[in-house]
Symmetry: C2
Subunit: 409 residues, 2 copies
């Protein structure tokens, strides 16, 4: 008699984005003809860079011929792509070896799966608010109690609040934690950790033999040269941190699917000497996964070529111009806004302490704008709302015009 994984029943609500999609769809069905402006989910809208498209088509062409067709690739990704990733790190003066890089189908998969190489007894710490995958995957793995609807938290998880007064970067946890999820540039707050802030966490993790899981999926949006794009820019991070990154936002691969993680061989824990965690992740990936699509990997390498990078940078710049439009528009309405400088998200305080989902519904109903309620990312996100800069320019402008027209009344 088969029995289900009862940890799934501990989950507080559906995964955030399907719930937003459900509400938007319900509204659209009730109001046919009304145009919805989507500034919710961080979904890219700009076409792929020309060099990427050419590389994808050339890869398909190669697979059409007997002498250039290839089947299974390396579980950890094609060498040419791992070399291109290594070279990109090198520009930041970070040395990563090829067998420390694991290409995947996206940062979501890696941030979800990485916890499986750690034991069930590990206490995880997350920024609050945070990308829901960190929490949800640990709930499903059984590392928590049920969702507490009063606190909006799961017992068993250490929440590290990110507020206005700490510049949306958490203080060190005061209790014992083992796995620490950090995301910078942050989704959802748009805050970017400084070297000093990360150094504090790296020193803490090394001291306690904790492991930091660093999500750098938005690193391409950092233009301020002083801000670290990789946690490995912090000395000692290779001993205590795993980094996850993605082509989704930097190259428009949200639907194309490509990412990577770095598990340094020098990463250690109390019970795992050097190379062990690297080997565990290789074992996990080679057993549960058969590598990212070969065609897509060629596209990823093209995105990292000098020409591809210039083209992708233009797309990033386009989105960052959206970010300015959103931020300026909201600010002019008197909303306090954060992020949006080195990140594609604007984190806006709702007016008069209105609750996130209420403000979400109000924006949907009155201005026909889909956003993401801050509380969906954790209890400390209550009273905030996230705007995504990944829309089309004209759609972003129309959305802001609509908000201006309706929120003033």
């Amino acid at each position: 008699m088969a029995t289900i994984n009862i940890n799934y029943d501990k989950l507080g609500a559906g995964y955030l984005f399907p719930e937003i999609a459900r509400r938007a769809k319900a509204f659209a069905e009730k109001h046919p003809g009304v145009e919805l402006h989507r500034l919710g989910i961080g979904d890219t809208t700009q076409p792929l860079a020309p060099s990427v498209v050419r590389a994808l088509q050339d890869a398909a062409e190669r697979l059409s011929k007997g002498d250039t067709y290839t089947g299974y690739g390396d579980y950890e990704g094609e060498k040419f792509l791992r070399e291109a990733i290594r070279d990109a790190y090198r520009e930041r003066k970070v040395e990563i070896e090829l067998d420390e890089i694991f290409v995947s189908d996206g940062a979501k998969s890696d941030s979800g799966n990485i916890q499986t190489i750690f034991g069930p007894e590990n206490i995880i710490a997350v920024q609050d608010p945070a990308y829901p995958v960190y929490v949800d995957t640990n709930v499903m793995a059984g590392r928590t109690e049920s969702f507490n609807t009063v606190t909006g938290q799961y017992a068993g998880i250490v929440y590290m609040p990110c507020h206005e007064h700490n510049d949306f970067f958490p203080e060190l946890p005061s209790e014992k934690v083992d796995l620490i999820y950090l995301c910078s540039p942050n989704n959802p707050t748009g805050a970017v950790a400084t070297k000093q802030q990360l150094t504090q966490f790296v020193e803490y993790a090394r001291q306690l033999k904790a492991v930091i899981i660093f999500d750098a999926a938005y690193s391409a949006f950092i233009s301020d040269a002083r801000l670290p794009r990789s946690i490995y820019e912090i000395p000692g991070a290779d001993e205590c941190a795993i980094e996850v990154n993605s082509f989704s936002k930097s190259a428009g691969f949200t639907g194309v699917r490509l990412g990577w993680s770095v598990v340094p061989k020098s990463l250690i824990t109390e019970d795992a000497p050097a190379s062990k965690l690297n080997a565990l992740w290789y074992r996990r990936q080679s057993t549960f996964f058969n590598g990212a699509s070969n065609i897509v990997q060629y596209g990823g390498a093209a995105a990292l070529s000098p020409k591809g990078r210039r083209e992708c940078q233009a797309i990033v710049d386009y989105y960052m111009q959206n970010a300015r439009i959103i931020r300026d528009g909201l600010t002019s309405l008197g909303l306090a806004c954060f992020g949006g400088d080195n990140a594609p998200y604007i984190w806006a305080k709702t007016p008069n302490g209105v609750r996130s989902w209420d403000f979400f519904d109000k924006l949907l109903r009155e201005a026909h704008v889909v956003t993401t309620p801050g509380s969906g990312f954790g209890p400390a996100g209550e009273g905030f709302i996230r705007f995504s800069a990944f829309g089309r320019r004209e759609s972003t402008e129309r959305a802001m015009a609509s908000i201006r027209a309706h929120l003033k009344t």
Copy 2:
């Protein structure tokens, strides 16, 4: 202080195929200039079908333009692809609804991940020999004790031996089991389950509220119309079976990556009413996964179009001709051979009861042919060796010539 998942240390050996690659590589490095014939891993060698290539290139083209670019797709896969999959089932008189189909990056991912929606207390049963992913993923999830090097088994798993005397299809387990992995056409034995054989298991599973995980990744190789290509051709299977399938072998997508699973809403267990397991798998996929590559999904739909199917069938026929060449060659040397009729694998008995790895090494050393040792798939595979029909014709022929030349001496 982070601690590792100690279940990984229970694993008996490295994942089988990397170990084969390691031995082949070591041989090649020691003997430069010697040509290796690869009949080991089931890696496709024939180019993609023309309609598939065109669809992949068109998809890349669409992503290059602002008005046809798309980002995130549905977690469960593009509707057009799920419709094509549903229609293919319909031809076998099997009715599957669209929200029962979950597109993925491959059958390996699905066969590995599916166990996560079940509780840790479930006893799993596997065919012995079996594709290693079923066992390894359950070991890593903690459902077993350590590997016993004497028995070649993990305590906690029920092995269902597949021998010559049961036509390589197991008897019903005599002890309590909860999750039953079945693979047909079988990897590695090449045996194909009859309707009668599957009916026995479906009745057993329904009676005990066990769940069958049916791996049909090789169904395209069945030419005998009487043999079931899907477990849902068996009445009642929708109440007790999950099916996993793939484009890897039918359309040459081993490197391109695409597969799907079916979790019927009518599937029930003692603690899960109708729709529950379907919802759990949706939750798992939407939390840990962001959908298969959109480009690749267009390629998959093209493979299921009438023209694509004719083209893919020609590729399947090509491999099945290889299977005949291998089987005839081995038989003429006096080796007892199984499979290869409705499956791309030939399961050969080693001569004089030689052990699998020894025969593997002998074939590698003397005939320069890479195969797969039967014992790598489980203890009942001892004394057998698997030949893959996925090589190029000339390479397959040269491999057989080399075996004939060297095994005779």
